[in-house]
């Protein structure tokens, strides 16, 4: 059985690697997840006959196992199938948190076990690894739950400033230090004292939550990616504890690739990872952002349609608001009408449009927008000055010129789309509220900007009608 199991784990590791490799190329991406999925099913099925389980053969445990897989898997399946494409980032966060929690649970069982004077009792270094994995896994769990809450825009997490207080870094450092200390004591003393272990886990969970709470929603993709890498590492550590090669290999690969991805995402947002984690936005800006001058000038969809219909070049800047309103199909329909009239239409995508790198591309692809009309920020930023109309739909912070000019602004330094360089700017917006970063947008008050208020989908329908009326 040992040989069979190890062979299967080996195959699983190979399938994971091939799967991930395929996922990193657009044409083979779809099959990649199937390969990896096959590996997972194989490993899970064979693990029912794992010698470490059969040695303690206990029917109750098997029943519990089946119920847990059924319930956990069922809920996750239902959630993953039902959720809207716009909510994908927070789904990734919550599933990632579950993985971290599972790793922490493995460690908890290992630490709680009273090995007494068994010959096979784990050594100090094994317990140290278990504790380290528990710490990282628990941090990933509570942090991911907070990230989920923020992206889901739950009431409790709404105001980032609420979670900031003086000396926060020191308090966090103290919690972290105590958690590490508790972990070391547990491992070195070989204790299975329930009280101490509980305190250890509570400290770890608290640290994860405290770490994620003050971070602004717009930075969440980077944080989720980091927690993803954390979970990988935790899984690998527990893999060493259980001497499970599939867990070790998969965990390390996720740990290293996740770390890479975190840095790449942070780079795309022009923020360093340390910056995201340790200097929250309130501390960055010197308080109040610059006063915004001018007034908001509303415009009717019919007028907006006329302006676009007679434009030579229109650049559309889709943001998260468009995705939430599910307006991408209507917007593409409108774009087709404009193209028929001879207008050049392009879509400009900010690296973090839709909250995650690549998220907006997925949403536009869903609506059927061809790839050659979609341009990245670097490709298109020069072109805004040649555009007659820049149509901003539900985007806010990524087109805020304050990022270029206002040093006191929390988003200062973030690369933005140069929408303000276009001859005319139209902004479709639900209301007068501020963006995800919680700041006013000078673009909306500019002389050449007109605000088209309303639900993006309804406005888009109005625009289509307006263009059609022109004949």
């Amino acid at each position: 059985m040992d040989y069979l199991l190890e062979t299967v784990y080996f195959c699983t590791a190979v399938l994971f690697i091939v799967g991930l490799k395929r996922m990193s190329h657009p044409t083979t991406a779809r099959s990649g997840i199937v390969w990896a999925g096959g590996g997972m099913v194989l490993a899970t099925l064979l693990s029912f006959a794992h010698p470490q389980i059969t040695a303690h053969l206990n029917v109750t445990n098997y029943v519990l196992m089946l119920i847990a897989i059924g319930v956990g898997g069922g809920i996750a399946w239902w959630g993953a199938k039902k959720v809207a494409m716009t909510a994908m980032p927070q789904m990734i966060a919550i599933y990632n948190g579950m993985g971290g929690g599972a790793a922490a649970c493995i460690a908890a069982v290992e630490l709680l076990k009273d090995h007494g004077h068994e010959a096979a009792a784990p050594g100090t270094h094994t317990l140290l690894m278990a504790a380290a994995g528990a710490l990282i896994g628990a941090v990933s769990f509570s942090g991911s739950v907070v990230a989920f809450g923020k992206l889901q825009e739950l009431k409790f997490f709404k105001n980032d400033a609420k979670f900031r207080f003086p000396g926060q870094q020191k308090v966090n450092a103290a919690i972290f230090f105590l958690a590490v200390l508790a972990g070391i004591v547990i491992a070195v003393a070989h204790t299975s004292n329930g009280g101490l272990i509980t305190v250890f886990f509570l400290l770890a969970l608290a640290f994860g939550a405290m770490m994620a709470l003050p971070i602004g929603g717009a930075d969440m993709p980077v944080v989720i990616s980091l927690f993803n890498a954390f979970t990988g590492l935790a899984v690998a550590l527990e893999g060493f504890v259980l001497l499970n090669s599939a867990m070790i290999i998969a965990g390390i690969i996720v740990g290293s690739s996740g770390t890479m991805l975190t840095f790449m995402m942070a780079k795309a947002m022009n923020r360093s990872v340390a910056n995201v984690l340790f200097s929250n936005w309130a501390a960055l800006g010197s308080g109040e952002a610059q006063e915004v001058k001018g007034s908001l000038k509303p415009m009717e969809p019919a007028d907006a349609a006329i302006q676009m219909a007679y434009a030579a070049k229109v650049i559309i800047v889709p943001g998260y608001g468009m995705a939430v309103a599910q307006a991408q199909h209507k917007i593409w329909e409108m774009s087709k009408l404009l193209i028929e009239r001879g207008t050049e239409v392009k879509f400009a995508i900010h690296p973090v449009a839709g909250r995650m790198p690549g998220h907006m591309n997925v949403l536009l692809a869903e609506a059927g927008v061809p790839y050659d009309l979609i341009a990245d920020m670097d490709e298109i930023n020069e072109e805004f000055s040649t555009a007659d109309v820049a149509l901003v739909i539900g985007a806010n912070d990524v087109v805020n010129p304050a990022a270029r000019t206002d040093k006191s602004s929390p988003i200062y330094g973030m690369p933005i789309l140069n929408v303000d360089h276009a001859k005319n700017v139209q902004v479709i917006k639900r209301g007068k509220g501020v963006g995800f970063a919680g700041i006013e947008n000078a673009l909306f008050f500019a002389d050449n900007t007109r605000m088209v208020y309303g639900d993006a989908q309804k406005v888009a329908a109005g625009l289509i009608q307006g263009i059609k009326d022109l004949g």
């Binding site: 657009p26 779809r30 997840i33 740990g255 290293s256 991805l261 795309a268």
Partner: protein, 100 residues
């Protein structure tokens, strides 16, 4: 000697797997960042296997409860991670056909 090899082989696995993860993710177009993150999220769902072993060894009710929670969370990670990734990548395929 055998003991030394036994000690070092995990370290080799660590080093090689670490490089592999780095290689897989570098030079990936930005549009695939989110799906790939989701994919790696699925891969660490292998933690389910470990949780099953942990629950299988549980002897006290407390261990069983914690183990049960572990398997529940692990299964959620694996299943949820798979279907989220699949849904995202499905869109890719269709867009590739129409675009470019």
């Amino acid at each position: 000697m055998e003991a030394v090899v036994a000690l070092f082989s995990p370290i080799y696995i660590l080093m090689l797997a670490g490089f592999l993860g780095y290689e897989i993710i570098s030079r990936v177009p930005v549009i695939l960042h989110t799906p790939l993150m989701s994919g790696t999220n699925f891969v660490h769902g292998i933690v389910l296997v470990g949780a099953m072993v942990a629950l299988g060894q549980a002897t006290t009710p407390l261990e069983q409860a914690v183990g049960f929670l572990g398997v529940l969370l692990g299964a959620g990670n694996a299943v949820g991670g798979y279907f989220v990734t699949e849904r995202m990548l499905e869109m890719f395929k269709s867009s590739k056909g129409k675009g470019n």
